[in-house]
């Protein structure tokens, strides 16, 4: 085993959080520089891994394994494949950007950065874990800092921050409760006592060997769907998303919308599809229907919002509908699209939140009637908003275009009805995004905003960093697709076999 790259990526933020613990409260400058350094290191290593990942070979690479609780079959086992690598990249990039977005934080900066780093480490852990136990552990690590951060650094607008923090946490925990039951059932159902393991690969093997009956798969998949679905803000479980983002501080909104939500999609693919293919097949029509509702319903809700964060909150619910739709179609193209869309939406939403966060930090306003004509005084923020907005609209040359088109291509043959409705979502997305941009950015000069300064120095970095990926992956989608394809391609035989299984629930709309 060579250099423990993934461990470094995982532990760098944690260790730095530990170091920051011992720094005096007044050393704000040092604290934030150190936090940025840790995230920078993690990001560089991830970029290296991204470049060095051998797509020709595929599968899990950079693996590390240390047995931990052998009796239970738990081991500290890390690895990345074509599905988790983009997620890991997303995590680190957004993590770095979120550190820069929190640069000016005044209140309890030390605690803020400690919690932020723990949060990022937790999210990283969920993506690099090859062991379900580690996965769950890291997931639970994520929840607590979020709650504290919302309560201390959050903001109260439509709903009090206590409410939004509580809602966020409870939904996450509710999701994780279902997930936990599902995962324990998997653990118990996959192998007889004595051979049991939390290793994901082994569970996939068990599934391929037919250790799990169709009924078992269907039941456990439902549990996982409830858990991951509420994480992914699937229709009836979406209401935490706008409220939660609205209450959360900028960095938490960024990480939450950017990556944390994606754990849901990632888990559905990694566990739901790979381990429980029959379950996925059974529930797919339901997921597709809910996905359609997600897309349209959330777009409609976004249309009438007044608060920027609510718009982006609902917009992210709407975009997650595309991810779910791509998942539900259960073919290589659509699933690649779903993964790519998660990356795309992550970059885009966090860019949005970082810009909104900046405006809010300066003006303490984020309600659309209050903000007008920002383009006159905030040209850089305007660029950020435009980039993110145009990406959400699905502009070619920006990151969202290829994933969206890919999802549509994969889906329209499987669920024509749902897909057509969901594709109509692009009109509504354009409508609410452009309305928002028009009202907030453009229009006559408003002297109220003359006293605020545009982003400069470190404050521009989130825009630069996220914008780079937004445009880079947009113009050269193969950079992203190459990796994702190497992760999804191995599923092709299984998906092909699955498409021969008759549809049990509903039927193709």
């Amino acid at each position: 085993m060579g250099f423990p790259l993934l461990s470094t990526v995982l532990l760098a933020p944690l260790l730095m959080a530990l170091v920051i613990c011992f720094l005096p409260r007044e050393a704000r400058e040092q604290i934030r520089v150190l936090a940025a350094a840790a995230m920078g290191l993690a990001t560089c290593l991830t970029l290296y891994a991204y470049a060095a990942y051998d797509t020709a070979v595929g599968g899990m690479q950079f693996t590390e394994q240390i047995p931990w609780v052998t009796d239970l079959g738990v081991s500290y086992s890390l690895g990345i494949d074509g599905i988790s690598l983009p997620m890991l990249l997303l995590t680190d990039v957004i993590g770095l950007a979120s550190v820069f977005s929190s640069w000016n934080i005044e209140k309890r900066a030390k605690e803020f950065f400690i919690l932020l780093l723990i949060l990022i480490a937790g999210v990283t852990g969920t993506f690099v874990a090859c062991d379900l136990f580690i996965f769950l552990l890291c997931y639970e690590v994520v929840v607590i800092p979020i709650y504290i951060m919302v309560l201390i650094w959050g903001s109260t607008k439509r709903v009090p921050k206590e409410y939004s923090g509580m809602k966020l946490t409870i939904f996450l925990l509710m999701g994780s409760a279902f997930m936990l039951v599902g995962i324990v059932s998997l653990y118990l159902g996959a192998y007889p006592a004595g051979q049991r393991t939390f290793d994901i690969q082994a569970l996939i093997m068990a599934s391929q060997m037919g250790n799990m009956s169709a009924e078992f798969q269907i039941f456990v998949f439902l549990l996982l769907l409830t858990g991951f679905g509420s994480l992914l803000s699937m229709f009836p479980f979406h209401s935490w998303s706008p409220d939660g983002y609205a209450g959360a501080p900028t960095a938490v909104s960024m990480i939450h919308a950017g990556v944390l939500k994606k754990i849901g999609g990632y888990g559905l693919i990694r566990l739901g599809l790979m381990v429980l293919p029959l379950g996925a097949k059974f529930w797919a029509p339901l997921i597709a229907g809910l996905a359609m509702i997600n897309v349209m319903y959330a777009a409609y809700c976004a249309m009438v919002q007044k608060d920027l964060k609510y718009i982006i909150g609902y917009s992210s619910v709407s975009h997650m509908g595309y991810v779910l739709l791509g998942f539900a179609a259960l073919n290589v193209v659509s699933i690649s699209g779903a993964i790519a869309n998660m990356v795309a939406h992550g970059i885009m939403a966090s860019l949005f939140f970082s810009q909104i966060g900046y405006v809010y930090e300066k003006t303490h306003m984020r309600s659309i009637p209050d903000l007008k004509g920002l383009a006159h005084y905030f040209p850089r923020v305007t660029i950020g908003f435009m980039l993110a907005g145009m990406a959400s609209v699905g502009l070619p040359g920006l990151i969202e275009f290829v994933p969206e088109v890919t999802i549509f291509m994969g889906t329209i043959g499987v669920y024509p009805f749902f897909a057509v409705i969901a594709i109509a979502g692009i009109i509504f997305t354009a409508l609410y995004i452009l309305r928002m941009l028009a009202k907030v950015l453009f229009g006559p000069k408003d002297e109220h905003f003359a006293k605020y300064e545009d982003q400069k120095g470190v404050e521009v970095l989130p825009l630069l960093l996220l914008g780079l990926f937004l445009v880079g992956f947009g113009i050269f989608p193969e950079l992203l697709m190459r990796v994702i394809d190497s992760g999804v391609q191995p599923l092709a035989p299984m998906l092909a076999a699955l498409s021969d299984v008759p549809m049990l629930l509903g039927g193709g709309f």
Binding site: K167, I170, P236, H238, S239, D243, Y297, Y300, C301, A302, M303, V304, Q305, N331, V332, V333, S336, G337, A340, G373, A375, H376, M390, V393, G394, L395, P396, G397, F401, V402, V405, T406, F408, M409, G410, I412, G413, I423, A424, I426, I427, F428, A430, L431, L434, R435, A438, L441, F442, G443, P444, K445, P477, E478, M481, I484, D485, V488, Q489, A492
Partner: protein, 632 residues
Amino acid sequence: MSEFALTHAWLIPLLPALAFVVIGFFTRLDKSISAKIAISMISVSFLLALGVLAAVISGPITMDNPLIQKVLWAKMGTLELSMGVLVDPMTAMMLIVVTTVALLVQIYSVGYMEHDPGAGRFFAFLSLFASSMLGLVISVNFLQMYAFWELVGVCSYLLIGFYYYKISAREAAKKAFITTRIGDFGMLLGILLLQITFGTLDFMELKELVPAYIWISGTGFMTVVGLLLFIGPIGKSGQFPLHVWLPDAMEGPTPVSALIHAATMVVAGVYLVGRAYFIFSALPAVMTVIAWIGGFTAFFAATIAITQRPFKRILAYSTISQLGYMMLALGVGSLTASMFHLMTHAFFKALLFLCAGAVIEAMNEEADIFKMGGLRHRMPTTFKCMAVGVLAIAGVPPFAGFFSKDMILAAAAEVSMPLYLLAAATAFLTAFYMARLLFVAFFGEVREDCPAHETNSYMRMPLVVLAVLAVVSGAWGHFAGFGEWVYFGAVQEEHIDFMIAGSSVLLTLIAFALAYEIYVAKRFSAHLLAQRFGILYTLSYNKYYVDEFYTIVRNTFVDKLGAVLYWFDLHVVDGVVNGLAKGVGCLSCVFTALQNGQAQRYVAVFYCGVIVLVAYSVFCAVRILNLLGGAF
């Protein structure tokens, strides 16, 4: 040289894109350097386009034998998305048109944007706009076309909303984007259906597959696909139900209007239909729809144009009308006529808009033509150019519009008499409103408070060049054999049907005379006429209330429904969540009541537990004791 241009055709869209990047990142704040970069890049593109044209004319490339280059853009599973270059005569023609107009518009903008602090940004956007349109033109497959199609849309959004501090500009930009988005939705569906049916989006491959498919499975499904695909052009090219954005698009700087209306954006729809002609031409039902939508739009827009007062709005409706002509030509099966008209129209419409820009700038942003008058004395060059433009659009021989319009009328006459009559009536109306525009604005008395003056040389030069093109392009196309060059299926013979040409020229002249009588000689009162045709005038003046209708639709089906759904979200979905939370809260009230800090309550709870346990163990013990058989 021409060989180099042909193999490096991909540079044509890339260079303006490069200009966009350079200006956007580095020279945004410096007007003159930005302008120089933009103009030099588009000039090189123009030269390359000329080289491509030369290569196409001299080389073996025909409509059936294009040059194709492709690179992989993204790949997932079996789906491969590629980008590339497809050069055939139609492409070459479009490249020339787009680069010429873009180049001239940019030169013009140097003068026009002289005093605007955002000029750097303007040149960046113009470059991107040109780049996207060029990318669309050389598209090798539907996806690339769709991608650049969207880019064109967003560039138009940026440029229409260039004066972002004007609410009207901001709203117009939004309207343009969203209206065309509706079209894009249909088009995207069509593209997706093509992809899942044929497994490819490549034009050349589809050209092989589609006829075979239609031969085997009939036209039913493909008609749906064709209609869906056609929704895109309806939105983009401002055809009837989705034309509303185009008149508003003049809120942008005038050079942008020229570019949008003449060479880029709106003709994209026509070009798409032309490019996918192998699909449409095989579907008679779709062809009929295209023809009728085109014909109707042409007539409909012309009837609106005759009553409008703002200079640019008249031109905007004339654009819709002319685009209707192009669609009509496509619908009646003449790709050649459509493309020919596209080319001539690009030149004379750019000319007209740039003249409009000069006039409006000279009039200090006064757009109402009835507040102008006698401008020919103040702006002689502009007047001459404008007159050429008007003659060209009206179809007076030997100006460009005559040849192309004649070809369309002839094609329509061959297919359907009603369509021909519609087109002829449109020709009459066109001549009338253009003459009205010219007479009202440039003839008559010079107003005393008129600030007009001749424009600067940056703005005059493009006008002259375009005027020349507006004169010669039609005749050149006619005599050089445009039809042998851009065609679909079989080469289209060039000949002028003197019956049709004569009647249309006659109509035009009558219209001119009528306009002269009304607006110059004032033999009839325009006011009285308007009163005489009260309802019709009101309808036309208010653009048949289409905008109002859409506003109602949007308010009801988007905003109201959105509010209802949000209410649902807040009170039902969230209500359930909050209700659950309340339920848990009540439960916790119950449980906190058990622990009110008083020892007695704890004792009570404790004994309740004891009772439950004992009861349970008794329940179990009954069986156990029975098993033991009374051991005690």
